[in-house]
């Protein structure tokens, strides 16, 4: 177990292993993305009240749900960096913050595009779901700028770990904001197996496909940028030199 753990921390080992996984992950991502998008744009039935804006929500829900994974990921990798000084964890954290900011922004933008026609407003400062999601975007931008200001020092790792704790608390607030307080934002839709009831498979299977597609995309994008990080930071090592001369 410990051998495996320290091996995983070795950038070279990760670079080789992820190189083997990537083609499969990419293939799965392409399949799920294609099925999800074609289904979403051609086959998803309209909602009896919202019309075809229900199609916005399968993308919005998939991106929004996935965006909540970033702060827990940052907290775990931050802790590993501080306690075990594993270089790889820090490389993952750096790129996860940037990708997480993208996810948060897309969540807000797609939500606005739905709200502008359904609620009658693009943005409400008094809705705790909306404001806590915006706060997540600000926190991630904070993590990114802290990192670029302090480079890869111990202080940066500590400060980012601290922000990650705040971020994780905020994730809980985002999740339960719609239940704890009165909001314009609706609560999470339950899943129903019954084809003749609200929230039946005709809606949630398409959403599930999109969620899997978005998680696969997250993994592929994060692995790609982490591999770049490895090449840059390990450029003096023999195995990177060998790799370059072979390419």
């Amino acid at each position: 177990m410990w051998l495996w753990f320290s091996k995983l921390g070795s950038p070279k080992w990760f670079y080789e292993l992820s190189g083997k996984w990537l083609p499969w992950l990419v293939a799965a991502m392409v399949v799920f993305m294609t099925v999800g998008l074609v289904w979403g744009l051609l086959f998803l039935p309209p909602d009896y009240q919202q019309g075809f804006t229900s199609r916005i929500l399968i993308v919005h829900v998939a991106v929004a749900g996935t965006s909540l994974a970033f702060f827990p990921l940052l907290l775990v990798s931050g802790t590993i960096t501080l306690v075990w000084r594993m270089k790889l964890a820090d490389m993952v954290a750096k790129n996860a913050a940037i990708l997480g900011a993208w996810f948060s922004f897309i969540t807000l933008a797609t939500g606005s595009l739905w709200g502008s026609v359904m609620w009658g407003t693009w943005w409400e400062w008094t809705d705790s779901r909306l404001v806590s999601m915006l706060f997540q975007l600000f926190l991630l931008l904070g993590v990114i700028s802290l990192r670029s200001a302090l480079e890869d020092s111990e202080t940066a790792a500590k400060a980012c770990a601290l922000l990650s704790i705040v971020g994780c608390i905020n994730v809980v607030i985002i999740k339960y904001s719609v239940e704890w307080w009165n909001t314009l934002h609706q609560v999470s839709s339950p899943v129903s197996m019954d084809t003749q009831s609200p929230n039946g498979p005709e809606f949630w299977i398409a959403t599930l496909v999109m969620i899997v597609a978005v998680y696969l995309f997250l993994s592929v994008s994060l692995i790609l940028s982490t591999r770049n990080e490895i090449l840059e930071r390990e450029r003096r090592s023999q195995w990177v030199q060998d790799l370059v001369s072979k390419s």
Partner: protein
């Protein structure tokens, strides 16, 4: 202090300031009221001071929507199935506004106890249904009300 250290310190202070502003904005938005709106029952119980500008959230009571034919004026009653509050509004209503649907209105109470709304937003519930399923449910006698929970909690 070395120039590069000073630069770093400057950046950190800048971030700290940015974060404080973000937190401040959030706190300000939340301080006014973490709840976005009051329910008709809360209004009936006098939780809102008179003359206060606030938001009210509830369902549009079926059969109460009266629109003027020659203007955008509309009157309706909002309810949480315990208390009712009449609302008057002039303006364009969102696409989702309809009887039995949740809404959030912003404005103030007038002397006659009518809520004069300056803005009306539609609230969507968590239920998705295709028109076919909706029609089948209606045909089998299960009314839409059984599936749309009260918008407030």
């Amino acid at each position: 202090m070395k120039p590069h250290r000073r630069k770093k310190l400057g950046i950190i202070i800048f971030i700290a300031a940015g974060l404080s502003v973000a937190v401040g904005f959030t706190a300000f938005a939340l301080k006014q009221n973490i709840n976005m709106f009051y329910t008709p029952t809360q209004v009936a119980e006098g939780e809102v001071g008179s003359g206060q500008h606030f938001r009210i959230g509830g369902m549009v009571k079926t059969g109460t929507v009266l629109g003027a034919t020659n203007s955008l004026k509309v009157n309706f009653v909002t309810t949480d199935f315990v208390s009712d509050v009449p609302i008057q509004y002039e303006g364009i209503l969102p696409d989702l506004f309809r009887e039995g649907q949740g809404i959030v209105a912003e404005g103030e109470m007038d002397a006659k106890g009518v809520f004069q709304a300056s803005r009306v937003l539609a609230k969507h519930d968590e239920n998705f249904m295709s028109p076919e399923v909706k029609a089948a449910l209606d045909a089998s006698g299960a009314s839409a009300e059984n599936h749309s929970p009260v918008a407030t909690n």
